[in-house]
Symmetry: none
Subunit: 366 residues, 2 copies
């Protein structure tokens, strides 16, 4: 149990290999486990108790019980290596995703979202017996209800051109040149995931330099995209043939050189500016009148950076909350001042001016 080695591949059973890694050392896990498409397959059969000749219902339950055992084992191993601030993604279909989701919840994982990947080009249902199976489901979860986790909200919003990213993603299947082929021209891996899917996942829930682990690496999509996006990566795969293909694929990836292009700054990381500094710098003299956008409430600025309304005195946040009868209020955006043009503008403009003096950078357009 030494330090974590990153940017490398492991061959073997993921449970064994995960158990050999240090606890709480990984920032994000993406897992694309076997889907249990045929029940009672070659998954994990610790002691084969299956009896020939049982009726269908029992056989089915036996199949699910085996799958559940397997699922809880690898999810438990993932739980151990995941940092408390880390998150886990699992992808699946109706064959297995209910088992996975139930296991996640029973193991204490806290579901943050289920995300549906709607395929632009799914395989049709040839026999006309069901709806075209046109989506897969991802479950995204933290280690617990109270855990802090990384969610690059602003990056996702930017990626969606200014609108919040939703839980339904429309993306094409992995086809064309992106699809790995063997030397016979046949597809190398039956369920290779598209890079666009991993791009969104990794960008959303990790930061540059973070460790991204995939316990069922397959064709290596997650590691390839992690490398491209400046993350460290770890891949585990049982099949030597897949591992060879993945290694070659990952080696060919050129990371994005400029880290500043990878990060979308978060508002919370901007320097904190007390309102008193705005007054102190003369951007708003004591005695100035403030009001909310509708002009319903007003207050006056005091020399110490507090404000006073008809009935309340305190910080811009406290008075804003008090006049509204609300539990909280962002005074920077609630309170407005009269601009030279005569219109009401939020006092947050003054904070932006103070920040611009502190750290000049490219103007962010919004």
């Amino acid at each position: 149990m030494t330090t974590l080695k990153t940017n490398r591949l492991y061959q073997g059973d993921c449970i064994d290999i995960l158990n050999g890694m240090p606890a709480e050392s990984v920032d994000m896990i993406f897992a694309d486990p076997p889907y249990n498409l045929q029940l009672g397959g070659d998954l994990l059969r610790p002691n084969n108790t299956r009896v020939d000749g049982v009726d269908d219902a029992w056989d089915r339950f036996d199949g699910f019980a085996d799958y559940d055992t397997f699922t809880r084992a690898w999810l438990g191993a993932c739980h151990r290596v995941l940092k408390d601030s880390g998150t886990l993604w699992v992808i699946g279909t109706y064959h297995n995703i209910f088992r996975v989701g139930t296991a996640l919840q029973d193991l204490g994982f806290w579901v943050l979202n289920d995300v549906v990947w709607c395929k632009t080009n799914p395989m049709p249902n040839f026999r006309g017996t069901r709806f075209t199976n046109a989506h897969e489901t991802l479950v995204w979860c933290s280690k617990g209800a109270e855990a802090r986790y990384t969610f690059n909200y602003e990056a996702m919003k930017a990626l969606n051109e200014g609108l919040q990213m939703r839980s339904d993603w429309t993306l094409p299947l992995c086809t064309g040149p992106e699809r790995l082929k063997d030397d016979q021209g046949r597809k190398m891996h039956p369920t290779q995931k598209p890079e666009s899917l991993l791009y969104r996942i990794i960008l959303a829930s990790s930061d540059p330099g973070d460790v991204v682990l995939d316990p069922f690496l397959g064709s290596g999509t997650s590691a390839a995209v992690a490398k491209k996006l400046g993350r460290r990566w770890i891949g585990i795969e049982r099949d030597a043939r897949y591992l060879v293909a993945a290694r070659e694929r990952i080696a060919a990836v050129e990371p994005v050189a400029d880290v500043t292009l990878l990060r979308t700054p978060r508002k919370r990381t901007e320097p904190r500016v007390p309102f008193g500094v705005v007054v102190e710098r003369g951007l708003l003299p004591p005695g100035s009148m403030l009001s909310d956008a509708s002009g319903r409430w007003s207050a006056r600025v005091r020399a110490d950076g507090t404000i006073i309304s008809a009935e309340h005195r305190g910080s811009i946040h406290q008075v804003g909350a008090a006049v509204q009868g609300a539990p909280a209020c962002n005074g920077w955006t609630f309170w407005h001042m009269r601009a030279d043009t005569g219109s009401l503008v939020p006092i947050d403009l003054l904070r932006q001016r103070v920040r611009a003096e502190l750290a000049p950078a490219a103007t962010v357009l919004s």
Copy 2:
């Protein structure tokens, strides 16, 4: 245990009432059980108004084990009354759908599809902490792997303008005049489902004259649509107040003769393509240089789909406008990239490629 009475409502616990019905007598069941939302305190919108969430007693459970017990009990009762040729639909979210799906499989139900209802107008995530929860999940299943069941493939294909109906359905929430209100003008039921959703479900998986049962009737959407579509119906609801509203609603329904009237045209407008999707799909890697046609201005592509010039950062449209000092700019035609031939071509070519992949888009029932 007499013959089945149809076109009527029952008040009481659905398990008791189902157990009083004859076995194998119902053709289709639609169930919208409590979701076990586990909400914390109040949630405030950015304007400090309160979200009217689900805080009703019927959605409170004492943990997952309690919820599982409840789920298996009512699903078991449904299994008994369902004909061998019948199918069952259950709707839920990530709070409960994994528990439901696991219980269904353990009880021997055979999953035919999971269907995602993508909402055109979901409630946003007000705190920027997760992806917008924009869908709910339906599980559709028969009584066993060998069971024969009703699936009106042609009707679904016709409803989708000649294309196979997919497993992802894009439909709006129930709002406006369709939403039942009490005499105070407040919503009658916190989770009333849209009739468009039930149209599709009932049309797909039952025939005229079939018996459609809903063990958690609520505001009565399923029974109202079943009556409209010429099916027999049975509703079970515990709350007398909901039952009164549902009875009145169902009584007002006129069955329709011509089902083809329900067909709706494909949305004609071209799908919106955020520039970020072009980056995400690898059509233009982060770090790529863009310039205008004359080469006078340039900018670089960031991982989140924004671009950055010497002085500005923002969307392709925003930065295009800013460098020109113009009020607005179509970034798709303003910005160019260097093609393999060495010539500058507009990035709109990339949007056209994405749109070509999106061509078979989802239809919207209006």
